[in-house]
């Protein structure tokens, strides 16, 4: 995909609408000028691109394993080896990268990233049986990916038709077919299914979310790889460029089908067929952003979930535990580990990012925290891309000359920024480079 040129709008001589009086007016004005919530500084650009690359490598594993679990492990009652995807899934070509892809958007190859394969072979220790790597935690932490899926499953109705479909008769019929096929010749499990059908249905719904997230990340991994490559080639001039690349990418694959297939032997059972018309943007990307970025990030130990102390809101919509709000510091006590994702990203940091971390705070000692904060910055940029994409899809161009249209855009941006008024939001922190 061709990198976009810098798109910072030229300042208007006479503003068509008065300045915003919102608490985050500066950020709103920046968004209206085609910028990101993240200030446009060279270091911010370096940080977010570096972390996208470090994120993309484990993500290349996440999406393959998520699909493996959804399609092959499925309802295995003892999924001890669900984090050991078969070679077929490790070799599974990406649908949007590589020569073989029917819709090639990104320039990368279809295979799993070489750094990922190298890490899977040796880890940080040395080559040894897979199981030992797994038990020693010298591996990709798939638990993170599962926690993201669980966040989507738990919050459910966050736009799109996906969740409604899971309650439909058509879905139940397909799921029933898949369950019976999967447990064919297993009277015990079939008997249990007869006794507790809803429990099995719930498990299938969860598997559908596995597929949903796997298909979402199948797109995002090559996006991030390409951004890293473009940056290495000197292609991005600022944070808005990186955001625009994401916006263009979102539109390029917005219509990608979201489905759930289950493979039992050679048979393929379409639990959610592609013909249902679920799309990547509305049934995967937006619910994912809402669930993980805003409401619940699987950053265990970063926030108290003590319901008895009334620290969990009554209203589900008031949840604000996402990465945009997360206190990246591990708190509570010693022993609470930094998040699993941070550990995963640590394996694949580009050298220029490591250099930055060595210059600040405790250098190598607290890289996990520094990269966690970088990740938070980068996710503010991704969220900006989503906000701009929504504005693009639902409202008016930024260079529109009709004040009423500009006011509509303004109201949209202000409504988005209202979500960052609460004190936990880190929007204010990422405005300064001192937050590390």
């Amino acid at each position: 995909m061709t990198p976009p040129a810098a798109t910072v709008a030229e300042p208007l001589q006479v503003p068509l609408i008065p300045p915003s009086e919102h608490r985050w007016a500066d950020v709103i004005h920046r968004l209206e000028a085609g910028g990101s919530m993240l200030p446009d500084t060279p270091e911010n650009l370096k940080q977010i691109i570096g972390i996208y690359k470090a994120y993309a490598v484990p993500m290349d594993f996440y999406w393959r394993d998520l699909l493996y679990i959804a399609e092959k492990v499925f309802l295995n009652p003892l999924p001890a080896f669900k984090y050991f995807p078969s070679q077929a899934y490790l070799d599974r070509p990406n649908s949007y990268a590589g020569e073989q892809s029917q819709l090639r958007i990104w320039r990368g190859g279809e295979k799993a990233h070489p750094e990922l394969l190298e890490f899977m072979a040796k880890g940080e220790t040395r080559a040894m049986p897979k199981l030992l790597h797994h038990l020693w935690h010298d591996r990709i932490n798939m638990e993170f990916a599962e926690a993201c899926m669980q966040a989507m499953l738990w919050h459910q109705g966050m736009g799109g038709r996906f969740n409604d479909y899971l309650e439909s008769e058509a879905y139940r019929a397909n799921a029933d077919r898949a369950i019976k096929a999967f447990f064919r010749g297993n009277p015990v499990m079939l008997g249990l299914y007869k006794l507790f059908p809803e429990m099995f249905m719930e498990q299938v719904k969860q598997m559908s979310y596995y597929a949903n997230l796997g298909l979402f990340w199948e797109v995002m991994a090559p996006v991030f790889f390409e951004m890293s490559d473009i940056y290495d080639e000197g292609g991005f001039k600022g944070v808005p460029d990186a955001m625009d690349f994401l916006v263009n990418g979102i539109f390029a694959v917005a219509g990608r089908p979201i489905y759930h297939h289950v493979y039992v032997g050679e048979e393929c059972i379409e639990v959610i067929p592609k013909t249902e018309g679920f799309t990547w943007l509305y049934e995967a990307a937006l619910p994912y952003v809402e669930a993980v970025f805003y409401r619940t990030a699987p950053f265990r130990g970063t926030k108290s979930y003590n319901a008895q102390a009334y620290q969990v809101p009554d209203n589900q919509a008031d949840f604000h535990y996402g990465i945009l709000y997360a206190d990246v510091f591990p708190v509570g006590s010693a022993g609470i580990p930094p998040t699993l994702l941070m550990q995963d990203m640590l394996h694949f940091l580009p050298p220029y990012l490591e250099e930055i971390y060595l210059q600040y705070k405790r250098g190598e000692e607290d890289q996990l925290i520094q990269l966690g904060i970088t990740f938070q910055r980068s996710m503010y940029n991704v969220t900006s891309a989503v906000i701009q994409a929504l504005r693009c899809a639902l409202l008016y161009p930024l260079d529109d000359t009709d004040p009423e249209h500009l006011l509509a855009n303004r109201q949209f941006f202000e409504a988005q920024m209202d979500r960052f008024v609460r004190p936990e939001a880190r929007l204010g922190d990422v405005q300064t480079q001192d937050y590390r």
Partner: protein, 510 residues
């Protein structure tokens, strides 16, 4: 034949370093610090040698007209305290920052404090003891006044005033003890132990000693200087003041009160025990209410001094052993506590409890320092396996038979230690580490070393309590005013629970 050279070495090593350091004009602050620490470490080694090979007492005439002579000696009471002083001095000096301002003067004053304290413990002459005791006041005051915190002037003046009153009353007590002795004027300990004094003279002299040493310990209501001084003094000075200098008060009460004035001590002991119990409760409750770690430690120390006074008041063989054990245990614990506080202050710039939180954070906090602080707090709370447990156990067991009510009160106050320890740790260790503040480097091993040494000793002495009591068993038994045959349960029940307490024949130290 035993030599008295080691006794001279105990004083000569720090003195030589104190004389040499001012001449090292071009030496780096770190080198000055290391030299001072080396002198104190050498003192510790000599002390250990004295334990294995008891040195002969030294008697050198100094000012015969004033009956002042350089009489030095070591017995079961003074040897462990000399070792404690050498140990804490070494660790205090090493706890100083490597690039300390005006390092030569700073370390000379620390060494001078050490010389005063060790000189007091070695003295076998009351006038010499007084001189050494007074010597401590000047360098300690200067340490507070020059290197103290924001309110250093007030703290230094307060310390000076209280210290001067302590010194003056001690002077009065020592002179009265010598002059009122119908056997003739003498300041020699052996003579003072056999002094013939009228009951009223004994009472007045003990009152003076209680005031002098009570101010030094300190004990309620004579503690006015302590929280201010501990809050403002530089950390090495606080380690010395709390870990060593305050022990001069305990030693003085034992040597001069229990040793030289046993009858009146026994008669006043219920009141002394009551003062100990009040101190224990007052210190613990105030510690709970503090919002600054240094002040919390100061009141904690005050409470633990209350236990010490209780055990001295009981004056049974076991309680006096407990007093020595508590002196040693508290010296190590409080030194470790302040060493940890010093590290926290150095890194975070604050000892204010509301300003600190999340220091246990494994990546951006001070987890190692907080671990040692936790261990020190646990030791202070008397958790088994650490040095505080055997010391407090002996204190309580030894005092219970004489003053059950006061002991019970002290037991309860000891429980309060856990309250302020948990409160402190919960607020400072746990919670959210503020990213805006958490911009400090982790502690280096060279910085941690003094606290690590103290930590190891606190664990080791907890596992092997003989290290606390073995030194002084014979000396404290000979000083005991009361003896007890542990009651047979059958007999005890017939006596309706009353403890068999008998004033034993007084035995003076040889």
């Amino acid at each position: 034949m035993a030599s008295s050279l080691p006794l001279l070495l105990l004083l000569a090593l720090p003195s030589a370093a104190a004389l040499l350091i001012p001449l090292l004009a071009s030496a780096s602050p770190a080198r000055v610090r290391n030299l001072a620490a080396l002198a104190c470490a050498g003192q510790f080694v000599v002390g250990l040698l004295c334990w294995r090979l008891a040195p002969a007492e030294l008697h050198l005439a100094w000012l015969p007209k004033l009956k002042l002579s350089l009489d030095l000696g070591l017995d079961g009471l003074s040897l462990p305290l000399v070792l404690l002083t050498a140990l804490v001095s070494t660790m205090a000096i090493l706890s100083a920052e490597a690039d300390h301002a005006r390092p030569r003067l700073f370390h000379c004053l620390l060494l001078a404090t050490n010389i005063g304290v060790v000189g007091s413990f070695l003295s076998r002459n009351a006038l010499l003891f007084l001189l050494a005791f007074e010597l401590v006041l000047i360098p300690a005051t200067l340490l507070v006044a020059i290197w103290g915190g924001k309110r250093k002037a007030g703290a230094a003046i307060r310390y000076l005033v209280y210290g001067s009153v302590s010194g003056l009353t001690l002077l009065g007590g020592v002179l009265a003890l010598a002059w009122c002795n119908s056997n003739g004027v003498s300041f020699d300990y052996a003579e003072l132990a056999k002094a013939q004094l009228s009951p009223s003279a004994q009472a007045w002299i003990l009152a003076l000693f209680l005031l002098a040493f009570g101010l030094k310990l300190p004990i309620v209501p004579l503690h006015g200087w302590q929280p201010f001084t501990y809050a403002e003094a530089p950390i090495p000075a606080v380690m010395l003041l709390s870990g060593v200098v305050s022990k001069l008060g305990a030693y003085g009460l034992l040597r001069f009160g229990v040793g030289f004035l046993p009858e009146v001590w026994a008669a006043w002991s219920p009141w002394i025990a009551a003062a100990g119990a009040v101190s224990a409760v007052y210190g613990a409750l105030n510690a709970i209410a503090q919002s600054d770690i240094r002040r919390l430690m100061a009141y904690s120390s005050l409470g633990h001094m209350g236990l010490l006074v209780l055990s001295l008041a009981a004056a049974t063989p076991l309680s006096l052993q407990g007093a020595v054990a508590q002196t040693l245990a508290h010296g190590m614990i409080v030194a470790l506590l302040f060493a940890c506080v010093g590290l926290i202050e150095r890194k975070t710039g604050s000892s204010s409890i509301p300003e600190l939180s999340g220091l246990l954070n494994p990546l951006r906090g001070l987890p190692f320092t907080m671990g040692m602080l936790l261990l020190a707090l646990m030791a202070a709370a008397g958790i088994p396996g650490l040095v505080g447990f055997p010391a407090e156990l002996i204190v309580f067991e030894g005092s219970w038979v004489v003053f059950p009510r006061a002991t019970l009160i002290c037991l309860i106050s000891s429980g309060f230690t856990a309250v302020y320890a948990i409160r402190l740790f919960n607020r400072v260790g746990f919670g959210r580490l503020d990213n805006a503040r958490a911009d400090w480097a982790s502690t280096r091993w060279s910085e941690r070393a003094p606290a690590v040494v103290l930590t190891v000793l606190i664990v080791a002495c907890g596992i092997w309590p003989q290290a606390l009591t073995g030194w002084s068993e014979r000396a404290t038994s000979s000083l005991a005013l009361r003896t007890f045959a542990l009651p047979n349960p059958m007999v005890a029940s017939q006596r309706e629970g009353t403890a068999a307490v008998a004033l034993a024949t007084r035995t003076l130290p040889s």
